[in-house]
């Protein structure tokens, strides 16, 4: 849009370098803590800067090209819906259009169908029943930076997630309009993003036909009441509630029904990447490889405290209202518990408004501390399937689906 979005801010490291010349008495440390973009992770090149991209407020830079931006943790305490301008951004391939004409945009549905479709945005929005869902989009590698031992990949904190209200048409309706032929096995999805060099695989994803024909996946054009932000997939994005963000294809332009399991060069992001160990825990012994893998799928149950940051100072003998979020794959959050004594005892939090089973669920709990000194807050959620967050994180070679209990060190004074 305009140059005002293109301001790259001085990195914290740069700031530290500059501040190093000053006397420590100037105490720049408070300013640093308020703007911490490392969120507890070490990087080979020091902490990351905040940057502004088109349509976005200041977000944490993960990578410049293709763009990869993380939502600062403070945003999750602003409300249960993540604002469009704060929603995380993640591309895989740098060759994507920076200009999209909504008048000429077409979504095609082809392959093993009776009637291939080529729909304009106007046709898509006017000719079919619209649906709405509030759903969490979480990157498979969210929190990868906390993997121990560390693994390669985007070194993410906890900001590659967000919760939004999506409006579109059910994928099922589109597929039924085209008419699925018998023998269909999977449906593949492709967007306008392309590899820079032809030897790199395209970014395409596949869902099993049963999942594609379930009521849940939708082709959305609206996010929180507005057009999708450009960098979140304008003008169309596949929404797969309960599933990791890797399936939420941006700039969605092609849907193809196939009569086999997706394979080949452009199936890379199904057949080689975004895979987890093929066992119950989807984990292996730290530092080892998996014998067999399968595509990553649904979100494990997770919870966060949003009202308290690491190293905050809380008052002794005063009521403190803790607040946070919990979410899962759509089974539904059952309980959220908080521990103030390293997990020996747990107190039940009160769940807030239910915006739907795929949404962030708010929780609150009033606590007070009897003793001064250092303390650790733990938060743990369970869902209606009986899944509960583990105290110790498991490990997989790609650093996917981290879901251990989060701990927040604090000081009581």
């Amino acid at each position: 849009m305009t140059d005002k979005y293109n301001k790259v801010h001085t990195s914290r490291r740069q700031f530290l370098r500059n501040a190093g010349a000053l006397a420590l008495a100037a105490s720049p440390l408070n300013a640093i803590a308020a703007n911490d973009t490392s969120e507890g992770i070490t990087f080979a090149d020091g902490p990351r800067p905040l940057v502004r991209y088109p349509g976005k407020r200041e977000l944490i830079l993960v990578h410049t090209r293709p763009p990869h931006l993380e939502t600062p943790s403070s945003v999750f305490n602003e409300g249960v819906i993540t604002p469009n301008d704060a929603f995380f951004v993640r591309y895989h391939l740098a060759n994507f259009p920076t200009s999209i004409d909504p008048e000429t945009y077409r979504l095609t549905v082809k392959g093993a169908v009776k009637t291939p479709l080529s729909l304009s945005l106007a046709e898509l929005k006017s000719s079919m029943q619209q649906v709405e869902v509030v759903a969490v989009n979480q990157c498979s590698g969210n929190s990868r930076g906390y993997s121990s031992p560390r693994v390669f990949g985007a070194q993410l904190g906890n900001g590659a997630m967000g919760n939004a209200r999506w409006v579109g048409v059910p994928l099922k309706t589109l597929l039924e309009k085209a008419g699925i032929l018998s023998g269909a096995r999977q449906v593949t999805f492709n967007g306008l993003d392309k590899p820079v060099i032809p030897s790199t695989p395209d970014f395409r994803k596949a869902l099993d036909i049963e999942h594609a024909l379930s009521p849940e996946p939708i082709v959305a054009w609206s996010m929180n009441g507005e057009d999708l932000p450009f960098l979140n997939g304008y003008p169309l994005k596949l929404i797969v509630p309960g599933y990791f963000g890797t399936y939420w294809v941006k700039h969605l332009s092609e849907i193809e029904v196939i009569d086999h399991l997706y394979e080949g060069h452009d199936a890379h992001f199904m057949t080689k990447a975004y895979r987890v160990p093929d066992n119950d825990c989807m984990c292996v012994a730290p530092g080892t490889k998996a014998d067999k893998t399968r595509p990553i799928s649904t979100l494990p149950v997770r919870s966060f405290i949003t009202s308290v940051k690491a190293n905050d100072v809380l008052p002794v003998n005063r009521t403190v209202k803790l607040r946070g979020i919990a979410f899962d794959d759509g089974s539904g959050i059952k309980t959220v518990d908080v521990s103030m004594d390293s997990g020996q005892t747990w107190r039940s939090a009160t769940l807030g408004n239910d915006l739907g089973r795929f949404s962030f669920r708010e929780w609150q709990l009033a606590i007070s501390f009897k003793n001064k000194g250092s303390a650790v807050l733990l938060v743990r959620a369970s869902n209606r399937q009986g899944e509960i967050q583990p105290l110790k994180a498991d490990w997989n070679p790609s650093g996917y689906r981290r879901h251990a209990i989060e701990s927040t060190p604090i000081t009581i004074a």
Partner: protein, 217 residues
């Protein structure tokens, strides 16, 4: 009669034209991405030049800069092989090992003096670099410096096509020296947001030869 029909026909055409033009055509949604400023950590290891020329074709340097510290040479080298085997990067096995050695020294826990780094960092022979009196083979220079990964003769890839460059500099008396400088020292902001890396292995004769070749397109 004909004289009276003409304006009516004209009016009819105007009406039809109005009807088939959408009344409120939404403008294309456009964005401008921020400039790319991240750079790889400099090094005298040959893998640094290779990394600058190869890795940055597909992604910015911060993909590397923000990895975890303390990764080993073996881990970094495996990561470079992954770029070759899974993502189609166009370098040889020896070049992959050289890039891995540089990355492990610059970002990981290896030292430039480690025997494994030294052995992986053997410079690639540059056929036309030794003797400046030899006839410079422009085609070989293009191939051996990875130019064709980003530039084609007649279409835009990562960078502008050679023909686009030639057209822009047509009539500029200093075109050759400007281009030779951009090739040797790198350049940014002239053609878009993705910077051109410095081709530091080239001497001025070679850079001039490449510049002349580009301007002939």
């Amino acid at each position: 009669m004909q004289r009276t029909k003409k304006p009516i026909l004209g009016l009819a055409f105007t009406l039809i034209a109005t009807l088939i033009t959408p009344p409120t055509q939404a403008a294309p949604n456009q964005i401008k991405l921020p400039p790319e400023t991240a750079k790889l950590l400099e090094s005298t290891l040959p893998g640094y030049t290779l990394a600058t020329q190869q890795c940055l074709i597909c992604h910015s340097a911060d993909y590397i800069n923000y990895q975890a510290p303390d990764m080993t040479q073996e881990q970094w080298t495996n990561e470079v092989f992954k770029m070759q085997n899974s993502y189609g990067a166009k370098f040889s096995e020896q070049e992959a090992r050289s890039i891995g050695a540089y990355l492990a020294v610059a970002y990981g826990n290896a030292k430039a003096t480690d025997a494994s780094v030294v052995s992986a960092s053997t410079p690639k022979p540059k056929p036309s670099a030794e003797n400046s009196n030899a006839i410079i083979n422009v085609q070989l220079l293009f191939d051996s410096n990875g130019c064709l990964a980003c530039h084609a003769i007649n279409k835009k890839l990562v960078g502008p096509s050679l023909q686009e460059i030639a057209t822009r500099y047509k009539g500029d008396a200093k075109a050759k020296s400007k281009l030779a400088t951009s090739i040797q020292k790198g350049s940014s902001g002239k053609w878009g947001q993705i910077p051109m890396p410095a081709m530091t292995d080239l001497n001025i004769e070679q850079a001039n030869a490449l510049a002349s070749f580009v301007l002939q397109q």
